[in-house]
Amino acid sequence: SSTRNQNISQPLPSALATARVIEDINSISYPDGIKSPSVELNANAKQGKFRYDRDFLLQFMAVCKEKPDSLPPLDAIGLEPSDQSFTM
């Protein structure tokens, strides 16, 4: 594919930017050990209007680690961790 030649230091942002939106949540099969989203929550789901239970969502935590392209540098918006040992 044409994405092969891209700078390999930033593979995830391009996947995030180019990935298609899932249209039928019930058609997706997940690898063994990954729980599907609650069927009950999506019984009458219209295209793209999906609801997700917490256990399903938590599975992404360890996988989606890359900083999204659209996240600004945190110091530019004044969002920096405070040093708790000094402020407390």
Binding site: V21, I25, R54, C64, P68, I77, L79
Partner: protein, 254 residues
């Protein structure tokens, strides 16, 4: 033809089967925007949030809206996102509430809704909130905020959200850090006014409060939470929140 469709289905790669080269993502029920403020975002050499990042809906020309706009200059837009994958990319690269400076707030609101009472989507609404003493909850607050955000973006706060009433009552969620406590809030689009006909709305709002207390925060149904620096899970309409002193309304508690 059937073979083609099968090949297409086989080619779907979620982030679980290929974390770097996935080709489908999980859309959220609504797009969301995360906002942030702290004493450090007020003035002081920081670029203003550009007007272009404000919601496209025209702001009503009322004194309230103008005041909200002034206040919004001190609030920074962190990111907007519309997929589960982007949410976690953001979550894994920002600062959790336990590490924020004092007097800071995260506001996670549906895209197009300003995190202010004056917004059209909020002005007739209210909020469920809980205040937690800081020293006892420093190790819990990050999980409580994460679970609050997951219930918001997963759209599981409002059990009566359905095909017949597809608009969620939730407009946003907030975490606030103060010198001695944390506060978590769930903002709703509507609030009971006390008139007889809103019994259904009352039930729906109450279900949101109970879900927040039990499933999100992890307390038991009958657990008493109020104490020094602590409150119950309590609801006030934004209009009643403005009433102080003798006119102050007692909050509704679950």
């Amino acid at each position: 033809q059937e073979v083609d469709m099968q090949a297409q289905a086989d080619a779907i790669r979620t982030v679980f089967s290929d974390p770097t080269n996935f080709n489908v993502k999980h859309p959220l029920y609504s797009p969301w925007t995360l906002w942030f403020d702290s004493p450090a975002t007020k003035g002081r050499n920081l670029p203003q949030t550009p007007m272009s990042s404000f919601p496209q809906t025209p702001l009503p020309q009322t004194p309230g809206a103008a005041a909200a706009q002034g206040w919004m200059e001190d609030i920074k837009r962190v990111i907007s996102f519309d997929s589960v994958e982007e949410f976690w990319g953001m979550y894994n690269n920002i600062v959790p509430p336990s590490q924020l400076p004092q007097k800071a707030n995260y506001y996670l609101f549906k895209e197009g809704i300003i995190p202010a009472w004056e917004d059209e989507a909020n002005k007739n609404g209210g909020k469920w909130s809980i205040q937690l003493p800081k020293d006892k909850n420093r190790s819990n607050v990050d999980k409580m905020w994460l679970y609050t955000m997951l219930a918001a973006i997963g759209e599981t706060f409002d059990p009566q959200l359905s095909e017949s009433s597809p608009q969620s009552l939730i407009t946003g969620v907030i975490v606030s850090t103060r010198p001695q406590f944390y506060r978590l809030s769930i903002w709703t689009r509507a609030a009971p006014t006390g008139a007889g006909e809103d019994e259904k709305l009352r039930e729906r709002i109450e279900a949101i409060g109970r879900h927040f207390k039990i499933s999100v925060l992890g307390y038991s149904e009958s657990q008493k939470l109020a104490g020094p620096l602590a409150t119950e899970v309590e609801f006030l309409s934004h209009k009643d929140s403005e009433k102080k002193g003798k006119a102050a309304k007692k909050p509704w508690v679950v």
